[in-house]
């Protein structure tokens, strides 16, 4: 790279840094697109919202939907009328906000948050994306950056500066400037995320929730990522700040403020009936480590321990690695002796006992299952297991 190339790329970086577009915060009373590009974004969002609303992905439970909308509204305050919160059946920790106020909350997120305050922290973050019109800012900034990049690349080409050699490798200046622009846009996105984190925390705090819950969301997620060695995006091109960083600044922002409600019981009342289904959805993707980490963490909270032990048993039974058979037996036995275990815990215990050649105990487990749900769809099959066990 000669001095001209360095100067050109440096100048491009400086100019690109000036491409940021800042839209004024949306006025709650004027929750509508304010310019043509924003009208287009709202139009696309409307289509997307209709598609989700009509699809089988939306969780068809008016009570759960009303609960999420209620928490969202409490956090959103004056923006309440503009937002619509939808529970979407999808594993993984995720929520998203569209420019028109259409918010998706994935069931994988609902599985992982522990109380209403943590949920409020996430919803507050999403509300701030809407209020600050981040989608419009990103679109306009992308447009400006792309225009500038085009001019720079044409200029470099016209000046005969297409690239340089680094040893045997030919490096394209077009690629270098693309990387600079991509890095800038990713950093810009991270700024939005941090702004939404910080302002979202203020929203949930104003709504009466304990501010420390926001950092706890990320603390739990970091623990899951580290325990399961989940891949992380390259820092330069990541659209979101690292979870550890988010945890740190949210923790600092909350300080030692111990005020506010956690709303754990309210959250459990609204979601506990679904928890098994959400764990099952994660298991279907063979997220064994993640289900184990989540279930063990939720066990510490105490609600329906039998159900959580049952899903730990499912992790070991389905993973089927050396030593897992004994762990599965132990987990199912723990489930059966605790509150909240589904009847299937007996059936699965029978299956693993059968696999361990403990036929008499397997028969007892199968019989216990049939005693609890004699009319189940698979009763005939379990009777066949019973007949075959020994």
């Amino acid at each position: 790279m000669n001095p001209v190339h360095i100067a050109a790329v440096g100048l491009a970086a400086l100019l690109i840094a000036g491409c940021a577009f800042e839209a004024p915060r949306m006025a709650p009373a004027r929750a509508a697109p304010q310019q043509p590009a924003e009208e287009g974004l709202w139009e696309i969002s409307r289509k997307f919202e209709e598609a989700v609303a009509m699809s089988g992905r939306k969780v068809d439970d008016p009570a759960l939907e009303a609960y999420l909308q209620d928490v969202g509204c409490r956090v959103a305050g004056p923006y309440c009328d503009g937002i619509r919160v939808y529970p979407v059946a999808a594993p993984d920790f995720n929520a998203s906000m569209s420019p028109n106020g259409f918010m998706q909350v994935w069931t994988g997120l609902l599985l992982r948050v522990e109380n209403e305050a943590q949920l409020a922290a996430v919803l507050g973050h999403e509300v701030m994306h809407y209020a600050e019109r981040h989608s419009l800012e990103r679109l306009e900034t992308t447009r400006r950056t792309a225009n500038l990049l085009l001019a720079v690349q044409f200029g470099l080409f016209a000046g005969g500066h297409t690239g340089f050699s680094s040893g045997p490798v030919r490096v394209s200046l077009g690629d270098v400037t693309n990387l600079v622009a991509g890095g800038y846009l990713a950093a810009y996105s991270r700024e939005h995320e941090e702004e939404a984190d910080r302002e979202g925390l203020r929203l949930m705090q104003t709504a009466g929730y304990h501010p420390g819950a926001a950092a706890r969301v990320w603390q739990n997620l970091v623990a899951e990522q580290e325990a399961c060695k989940l891949p992380r995006p390259a820092a330069l091109l990541a659209s979101h700040p690292p979870s550890t960083e988010r945890m740190a600044y949210l923790d600092q922002l909350a300080g030692s403020d111990a005020s506010g409600a956690n709303g754990e019981q309210q959250f459990l009342d609204a979601t506990l009936a679904y928890r098994g289904r959400w764990l099952r959805a994660e298991l279907a993707l063979r997220h064994f480590c993640r289900v184990r980490v989540v279930a063990e963490r939720l066990l510490e909270r105490g609600a329906n321990p039998g159900e959580l032990h049952y899903y730990l048993g499912e992790v070991y039974r389905l993973r089927n690695e050396p030593g897992d058979l004994d762990k599965a037996i132990e987990a199912y036995e723990n489930a059966i002796s605790a509150a909240g275990a589904p009847p299937e815990a007996h059936r699965e215990l029978g299956l693993v006992l059968q696999r361990a050649n403990r036929d008499a105990e397997a028969r007892a487990a199968f019989q216990a299952y049939l005693d609890r749900v004699p009319g189940s769809d698979d009763a005939a099959m379990v009777r066949a297991y019973l007949a075959g066990a020994g």
Partner: protein, 252 residues
């Protein structure tokens, strides 16, 4: 081109650049209609229920960023509806419009959801197995062992009964339209890219899809796919002409 000087090559390119506007002006649109394998039962004076058309138009900016244009989309939507009504009327039929319920959270009546969900799945299958969407050029197209390679063999079954009853309609017509068009800056960039590098980039892309479902049998009786690479997507006249072309083979 052996023996051709660099200057001569540039002149040839410059001449070709001049051809671009002419190419852009000549609308290059093709259609690919398909009918039910078992034939179509044509009814006298049919009532055709037009489902909410799905229209989205994009502007490609100078640097190639797609920007959704709500104004273009709204205009195209209205033109699409007008041209559809004219086509159905010309066949002795009547176009009735699907009415969205007051609840903003659900764009259709709950009783109509099963038919519309099934339609989305069926449409996906038709696009994959009949129109070969997603099949790379030159690759072997996928096929279904349960269906022949010709004609349409899909039905929405009894799920359409509520639609038929609520609107007293014989058919349901689904329309989807997507288009992207370069702004003038992008067209100039495309011309420059062609002159400098010989890269050809279409200045617009359009895809229209129409589907007719018999509300008595539930069968998908007709589809048509319109695709084009050069017409003014924002212009109502062009949209009107293309809607007529899209619906030209409507079996009514």
């Amino acid at each position: 081109m052996p023996g051709t000087t660099r200057l001569a090559r540039h002149r040839i390119r410059a001449a070709l650049v001049l051809l671009i506007p002419a190419l852009a002006l000549s609308a290059c649109v093709s259609v690919k209609p398909m009918r039910a394998a078992g034939g179509v039962e044509v009814r006298d004076n049919p009532r055709v229920l037009l489902m909410a058309p799905d229209v989205l138009l994009l502007e490609i900016t100078t640097a190639g960023v797609p920007i959704p244009r709500a104004d273009w989309s709204a205009r195209a939507h209205d033109t699409l509806v007008e041209a559809s009504a004219a086509t159905v009327a010309a066949r002795g039929g009547e176009l009735v419009h699907y009415v969205r319920p007051a609840d903003a959270r659900l764009p259709v009546a709950p009783g109509h959801l099963p038919a519309l969900r099934l339609y989305q799945v069926v449409l996906g299958a038709i696009l994959t197995y009949r129109y070969k969407f997603g099949t790379p050029r030159g690759a072997r197209a996928p096929s279904l062992v349960t269906k022949s390679d010709d004609g349409l063999e899909w039905t929405l079954g009894d799920t359409v009964a509520p639609l038929r009853a609520d609107y007293d309609a014989d058919y349901a017509l689904f329309l989807t339209f997507r288009a992207a068009s370069s702004n003038s800056g992008r067209a100039m960039v495309s011309a420059a890219a062609f002159a400098l590098f010989g890269v050809i980039e279409a200045t617009s892309q359009s895809v229209g899809l129409a589907t007719l479902v018999d509300l008595h049998s539930g069968e998908v009786v007709w589809t048509n796919l319109l695709s084009g690479s050069a017409f003014e997507v924002g212009e109502p006249e062009e949209m009107h002409a293309n809607t007529l072309k899209l619906l030209e083979t409507l079996p009514l």
